[in-house]
């Protein structure tokens, strides 16, 4: 009798376990590791940027998702900061047009980035990149508006309506390089990875245009003035990259542009607009000195006139 009871008890716990197996497999949040409760579909998108990809929402738990400090409405039109910004007003010789960041660099965001950058949790990479999509849209819109402003003729495109995001053409996407020492220690360059994913998603040619001359201390340990000093002449433009860029500009490339070529409108744009539109990617924008220094190097060494925009993951 005793063994029967034992047997039943044991099979009960077995069944219990198998029922758990049959249920929907629990997905754990990439950022905090907690199991995501309930279906991802039921979450409302209120308060989230509308361009945020669905896949992102479904792989992040509720509390992480709603605690992301998005930078949706920049106060400073140059650096994309959420508050009015003295730095940009002070800067007289900006080599870049504007920066847009996905999030504010709060302590939680710092923790996330550290998880990825220093701990090497590369599973976070696709999600961090997806977070940059709304900011990417914003900076693209900005670039479109500027082009339209500069060429009043384009304000009345043949089909009517304003220049929309999808019609703006980035000539190239590039990233802030790290020194080879750092790349080896870490195993990757976060900016390069972000840039690669964005280039793949939006089909923009990725060109490595920059080279880091010397190995500097981690910027996160430095004060503002140290950073400014340190980043001076830190970067050099790569001649191969620039050559590649001008090559690209010379021959009309395939892909997206041909799709909207029917009216000849875009090719007209690219002829009239002589400046090349470059998107520069980095992880954090703090004083802007890195972006400034990179843009400076590009401007000084490029044979073509450039318009450089920056897209960063966080704005501190």
């Amino acid at each position: 009798m005793k063994w029967l009871i034992q047997f039943l008890q044991r099979s009960y716990s077995g069944i219990d376990r198998s029922i758990q197996w049959l249920g929907p497999s629990p997905v754990s949040c990439t950022f905090c590791g907690q199991t995501i409760r309930g279906g991802g579909n039921s979450t409302s998108r209120a308060g989230l940027p509308s361009e945020l990809p669905k896949s992102f929402i479904s792989s992040v738990c509720h509390s992480c998702l709603y605690n992301i400090p998005w930078l949706l409405r920049p106060k400073c039109w140059i650096c994309g900061r959420g508050v009015v910004c003295g730095d940009c007003a002070r800067r007289t010789n900006a080599y870049f047009v504007a920066n847009r960041s996905a999030v504010q660099y709060t302590s939680e965001m710092r923790e996330w980035l550290a998880q990825y950058k220093y701990r090497g949790n590369e599973q976070m990479e696709p999600l961090l990149t997806e977070m940059m999509v709304p900011a990417y849209r914003a900076v693209t819109k900005l670039a479109a508006a500027r082009i339209a402003l500069r060429n009043p003729a384009l304000n009345n495109p043949p089909k009517g309506g304003a220049v929309s995001v999808s019609e703006v053409h980035w000539d190239a996407i590039t990233y802030v390089p790290v020194s080879s020492e750092r790349a080896e220690e870490r195993g990757f360059n976060q900016a390069e990875r972000f840039a690669e994913r964005i280039s793949r998603q939006f089909q923009i040619p990725l060109i490595n245009l920059l080279y880091r001359d010397r190995h500097t201390e981690k910027q996160s340990f430095q004060s503002r003035s140290e950073r400014m000093r340190n980043t001076q002449r830190l970067f050099r433009a790569l001649p191969e990259g620039l050559a590649h860029l001008s090559q690209l500009a010379a021959k009309p490339s395939a892909g997206k542009r041909t799709a909207s070529l029917e009216s000849g409108y875009i090719s007209e744009t690219s002829q009239r607009r002589q400046k090349r539109q470059i998107l520069l990617i980095d992880d954090i924008y703090t004083t802007g000195s890195t972006i400034q220094s990179c843009s400076e190097a590009l401007h000084l060494q490029s044979p073509l006139p450039l318009d450089i925009y920056a897209l960063t993951w966080a704005r501190s």
Partner: protein
């Protein structure tokens, strides 16, 4: 002829090691080992050809150089376009290898080196430079490439020096020394050394170890070596010895080893020499799936050699350190990233110091621990087990299987910590290393002063995330279970406390770590009040030696829970009312001066429940806390200091907190999160002190569940056993 061939193959391996990043060289070696075991009668050339045909080798050879697309300014479209180039390089290398094999003794190496130089020139100095920093081994390798040449031909090739550029002249000299000793080992394998008789069926690794040992033996009368290099060699050898002893029983990544050996000059060289001597083992931190022995390959997938995780936790990404798709382990990321091209250094096991076995403890000596009869009986059984195990294990070393374990099943409040003191004492006297591991950091911190007080003469090292003593070693180590990942065959007595508690339970990584940190001569002790079912079954079946402590140290029975029918916490919160029976019981507890633990299931219920109780019981000193509460530590201290009368909490406080006069209320006791073990643990918070041994425990729930009944039975059974053994005061 046969011997000669052996010599050549050793040379080839060394050559490979010098040319390839460490992880790859290691894999090649394994593969070579395997291939050689298979094809005995084939010539070397054939063997090499066979190796060359294996896709893994091709791949390894092809990607041994770093490919960084971005740097060359090429347009990345998510596709690699350099495969052709890689292949070419692969062939190149193959050619070199063959040339090397065909050429006679010294000359062949020249050829190989020239090939290497060509490669260097082709891919730019940066590459040679960069690659040399990949692993500690590489540090040595990148430079020793030049060094070997110097040692052999007695001249330094400028191009070679350029390849190692960026390193100071001084470092190059040290490397020359290392190279010279490697060279000596090689020369002896050519048959000059009479002791180097080849033994049939010996693995290549064993042979290499023997050769290098032979070299050590002969170092005294170094006939062929110049005097100066002899002195330098001794210096490096001493550094290697120091490194080996510091790393004994450790399993460290490269960065950790550097932190441990901080200040030592030329760590890479010392490690490499120690490895050649067989004083430690170097390997990739992740064993690659593609390489390795055929058996492993069939089993499939890469495996993290530090935490034992399999393919499910491997993530492959493009790696800028080694320039390939390189797997890293996501299971042990928190302890530093372990990846394929990262170096893992495994120290040698710590065996017993060889001290004479202590005389069996006399009753008088045992009495100094002041244990109760129940504690003493169990402790003596455990002590006998430990002594027997260590004795028999040092006679014949255990192979493969898991270390012998003992379960100490002691009820809550039995005084487990005091019971382990005699065991710790016995093993430290034998010169053994003792580890006490618990899953939680606060418990480690609480245990620390007690252990130090009990063993004032021993060196106690306390390890947890962010511990200051991280790189120290002592006779007694206190650690959280995660820290065990940094040890390898290190301890002779491993005591694992609260083995059924989070996070130890259900975490295969920690189980693996707890197993691996046991030295080949080791006993393992599990402590628990509520052992997992599987262990209980093994104990019952007699497969797991165990001892039970059914009574508390104060010799009073455990408080038996009473079941109350109550609505759910959610309902209570909605109605802002608690049932009358519960209210009377709580008021009674408060009036008798007890402090109250109130357990609820969910974190978000703690604060509202505390507020509700504050208003109903008219008692302001009531707080709620949970794992998400930043002020948790502060509230617990206030509760301990009796500033708080009632603490509403979740299962986080089910263990470890001892309040002298306390009653326990478990609400929603029928909920899913409270199983038998956690109900018994929570009930164990009551009546722990000798002043107030009869606390009250209430299980409140809508239903009577199996867990509740089982928990009550468990407690009653323990009381019964205690009474029948006469452990209780009448």
């Amino acid at each position: 002829m046969r011997l000669r061939e052996e010599g050549h193959s050793a040379e080839l391996i060394l050559l490979w090691k010098e040319l390839l990043p460490l992880g790859d060289a290691w894999r090649c070696k394994e593969l070579w080992d395997y291939e050689e075991g298979k094809g005995e009668n084939r010539g070397r050339g054939a063997l090499l050809e066979a190796l060359g045909r294996i896709p893994v080798v091709q791949k390894i050879i092809g990607t041994g150089r770093r490919v960084n697309f971005g740097e060359q300014g090429r347009w990345i479209e998510g596709r690699r376009e350099a495969s052709k180039q890689e292949q070419k390089l692969g062939e190149d290398w193959d050619g070199q290898g063959k040339a090397g094999m065909e050429g006679a003794n010294g000359r062949c190496r020249t050829g190989a080196l020239e090939g290497e130089n060509v490669r260097c020139r082709e891919s730019g100095m940066e590459e040679a430079n960069g690659r040399s920093r990949t692993g500690a081994m590489e540090e040595a390798n990148g430079r020793s490439r030049t060094g070997v040449m110097e040692g052999v031909n007695g001249r330094c090739r400028e191009s070679g020096m350029k390849g190692a550029d960026g390193h100071s002249r001084e470092e190059a000299v040290v490397m020359t020394r290392l190279a010279a000793c490697v060279e000596q080992a090689k020369r002896e394998t050519h048959g000059d050394h009479p002791g180097a008789q080849q033994q049939e069926g010996e693995s290549l690794r064993a042979r290499m170890e023997r050769w290098t040992r032979a070299d050590v033996g002969r170092s005294g009368n170094g006939t062929q070596r110049a005097d100066s290099s002899g002195a330098q060699w001794r210096e490096l050898s001493a550094a290697a010895k120091r490194a080996a002893s510091a790393l004994q029983g450790r399993a460290l990544l490269r960065g950790e080893a550097h932190a441990l050996l901080e200040g030592a000059a030329d760590i890479g060289g010392a490690l490499q020499l120690a490895q050649l001597h067989g004083w430690l083992r170097l390997s990739g931190a992740v064993a690659a799936g593609g390489g390795g022995r055929l058996r492993q390959r069939r089993k499939g997938g890469a495996r993290c050699l530090r935490c034992g995780s399999g393919e499910a936790h491997m993530h492959r990404t493009r790696c800028a350190s080694c320039g390939r798709m390189c797997a890293y382990c996501s299971a042990c990321l928190g302890m530093g990233r372990s990846r394929e091209c990262e170096l893992l250094i495994l120290g040698m096991p710590s065996l017993l110091g060889g001290a004479a076995p202590a005389p069996p403890p006399t009753e008088a000596a045992f009495a100094r621990w002041g244990l109760s009869p129940a504690q003493a009986a169990a402790t003596k059984t455990a002590l006998r087990f430990v002594e027997l195990t260590l004795h028999s294990a040092s006679a014949g070393t255990r192979q493969g299987e898991s270390p012998p374990s003992f379960l100490l099943w002691a009820v809550t409040g039995a005084g487990k910590t005091e019971m382990i003191f005699p065991l710790v004492d016995s093993v430290t006297r034998l010169g053994g290393q003792v580890l006490i591991a618990t899953p939680r950091r606060d418990v480690v911190l609480e245990l620390d002063p007690r252990i130090r007080k009990a063993f004032p003469e021993a060196k106690v090292v306390t390890l947890y995330g962010g511990s200051e003593q991280r790189w120290e070693r002592g006779g007694i180590t206190l650690a959280t279970t995660h820290q065990l990942m940094r040890f390898h065959q290190s301890f002779n007595l491993v005591i694992i406390d609260e083995l059924d508690a989070f996070p130890y339970v259900n975490d295969p990584v920690l189980h693996y770590a707890a197993e691996r940190c046991c030295s080949p001569v080791a006993a393992r002790m599990f402590l628990s009040a509520t052992p997992p079912r599987e262990l209980q079954r093994q104990a019952r079946k007699g497969r797991l030696p165990h001892a039970r402590v059914p009574a508390r140290y104060h010799r009073q029975p455990l408080p038996v829970p009473s079941l109350l029918r109550t609505p759910t916490v959610k309902q209570m919160l909605a109605m802002k009312r608690i049932p009358a029976a519960l209210q009377t019981a709580m008021l009674k507890s408060l009036n008798r001066g007890a402090q109250l633990f109130v357990f609820v299931q969910r974190i978000e219920q703690t604060e509202p429940m505390a507020a509700l109780l504050r208003s109903i019981l008219k008692q302001p000193a009531i707080e709620g806390t949970s794992s998400k509460d930043p002020q948790r530590a502060d509230k617990i201290i206030r509760f301990r200091n009796k500033e708080l009368r009632v603490l509403v909490t979740t299962t986080i406080l089910e263990r470890g907190v001892t309040i002298p006069r306390s009653d326990v209320y478990i609400l929603d006791a029928d909920g899913r999160l409270f199983d038998e073990a956690s109900l018994v643990q929570m009930a164990g918070r009551a009546g722990r002190s000798a002043d107030d041994p009869n606390g009250f425990v209430y299980f409140g729930g809508k239903e009577r569940t199996r867990s509740q009944v089982a928990a009550v039975r468990h407690i009653q059974k323990m009381n019964r056993i205690a009474r029948s053994n006469g452990y209780l005061e009448q």
